[in-house]
């Protein structure tokens, strides 16, 4: 069965908030109505967002590191927000695992937000219904878009490709490979919600080249000679021939 999800690479996220603005732009313009804002140009603006980028400082100065942490609905495989909904407005789609809210059925009781440990849902104070990330369900299946554009808005916007999108139940998909090979992990695994979205950890990207990698130590056929080394004062063709 399909389970669409995002895999967010914390190693390359630079905290630019492009995913936040792109998400807001797409989802406030759709047929489901705007994501309402209150006092947008005043001192204390607030509004409804599906996606936020938070920033954490890890360690203590001077040995500290900045972590930008994009946070949206994780589309849990066992979503605790769904069974508590009294109206059935919150549901998880069987065909692709996206957790959605039917804005026409929601009564705005906010019980689902109590049941979500991640704080992924936000109440729209003007429309008085609960809202959350839809994985751009109105975009990823839109046949009128070019295939390359059938991705969530945040994924398309990310300038560093920190956001991957795909089916985590397909072992060959790019997201499954990323989770498998780059140490993908889920948030708050202690609650057994099995979030579909995964995060890739910060990791070292240094490349250290050892001497024996330049001059092959194993030299199996004994045909590799030593690299030519011109004398110190001699002119060299290296600069011209290197490319």
């Amino acid at each position: 069965m399909t389970q669409l999800a995002l895999v967010i690479d914390l190693n390359v996220c630079v905290g630019c908030h492009a995913c936040v603005t792109s998400c807001k732009e797409w989802n406030t313009s759709g047929s489901a109505g705007p994501l309402c804002d209150e006092r947008p140009y005043e001192a204390d603006p607030t509004g409804t967002f599906f996606n936020r980028v938070q920033t954490f400082e890890i360690g203590q100065f001077p040995h500290s590191e900045t972590l930008h942490f994009p946070k949206s609905c994780l589309h849990c495989e066992d979503p605790p927000c769904v069974p508590v909904c009294p109206t059935g407005a919150s549901y998880k789609r069987k065909e692709d695992g996206i957790v959605l809210v039917d804005y026409d059925k929601c009564i705005g009781c906010k019980y689902c937000t109590w049941a979500c440990p991640y704080g992924a849902r936000e109440f729209d104070e003007k429309q008085k219904v609960m809202k959350k990330c839809t994985l751009c369900v109105d975009r990823i299946y839109d046949q009128s878009l070019a295939e390359i554009d059938r991705k969530p808005s945040c994924v398309k916007a990310c300038p560093t490709s920190a956001r991957l999108f795909g089916d985590i139940h397909d072992p060959e998909s790019a997201v499954s490979q990323a989770i498998r090979e780059d140490g993908g992990y889920a948030l708050m695994p202690e609650w057994g919600t099995h979030p579909a979205n995964h995060y890739l950890p910060r990791r070292k990207t240094k490349l250290k080249i050892h001497e024996d990698e330049l001059e092959r130590a194993d030299n199996p056929l004994k045909v590799d000679g030593l690299l030519p080394k011109p004398g110190k004062g001699e002119s060299s063709m290296d600069d011209a021939s290197a490319w």
Partner: protein, 322 residues
Amino acid sequence: MKPAFSVIFLTTLLGAGQGLFLALFTHQSYALFGLLPMQSDAFYGYGSAIALLFLACGLVASFFHLGRPERAWRSATQWRTSWLSREVIVLPVFMGVVFLFGVSHLAGYRPEIVTLPSGLLIDLSIVIGTIGTLLAFALFICTGMIYACLRFLREWNSPLTVINYILLGGSSGFILASFYAASAAPSQTHFFVGWAIIITLLAFVGRAASLVRNARLKPKSTMQTAIGVKHPHIVQRSMGAMGGSFNTREFFHGKSPAFLRAIKPAFLLLAFVVPLALLALGMTTPSLLGFAFALQYVGLLAERWFFFAQANHPQNLYYQCV
């Protein structure tokens, strides 16, 4: 969590209404077995009307919690999975049964249903009352389970939550019944006061147990599991919003820790100590029973406020700058 006044009033008013009905039917059951003198139909009938009034006020309060109250009827559909949905079904059914119980007494329509071999005459009001008693407990369980089933909110995720809803509602209702009996059936006041004291003492034990339990809770989620970084020193620098969001408003009580600390002894005093003292005095001075109910109701409002404020939602880990 942010205590919503609609829910505080909803749960306390329903508790008093359910408790009052249970008190009335307890008396009628005692009378059925000849342990107490059966009272007039008017006593049970008007008592049910008062219970119904409290239940109706609770129902009205519940609508203030909804963003879209006009769609409230939809909330009865998910009874298979949602305790909130179950409460939405049980509450009106219970209100209907309380109404019928009152009507059967006030109209004097109490036809015999069955005579037990022992010669005990079971009439219609007994049958309705028994169904109502079961529904009153079902409603207490639904209300309690709405909170107790949320496993992330560990302060609530305990059988004590359900037990305390039953005991606190029962205490409130039996004190109300004592006050009612003091004017409507003075000879029966001692019966209700006696039970009110017992239930209030039990409620005190139950609430104290949950306070002790909550004080010893260790959070299951930490900053490390929340963002998946194992470093012991993590500080949030930005929440992703400058002017706050739903997440910064809904999950914080917005009062100082000193206020929270002050509320606890205040509700213990008002909801338990003061009413117990007034109940004891009310044995001889029935006029104090009204004060006992009113002061305890204020105490229960404070208790419910504290119940919500004390619950610390794991999502707050993502909103440390509030």
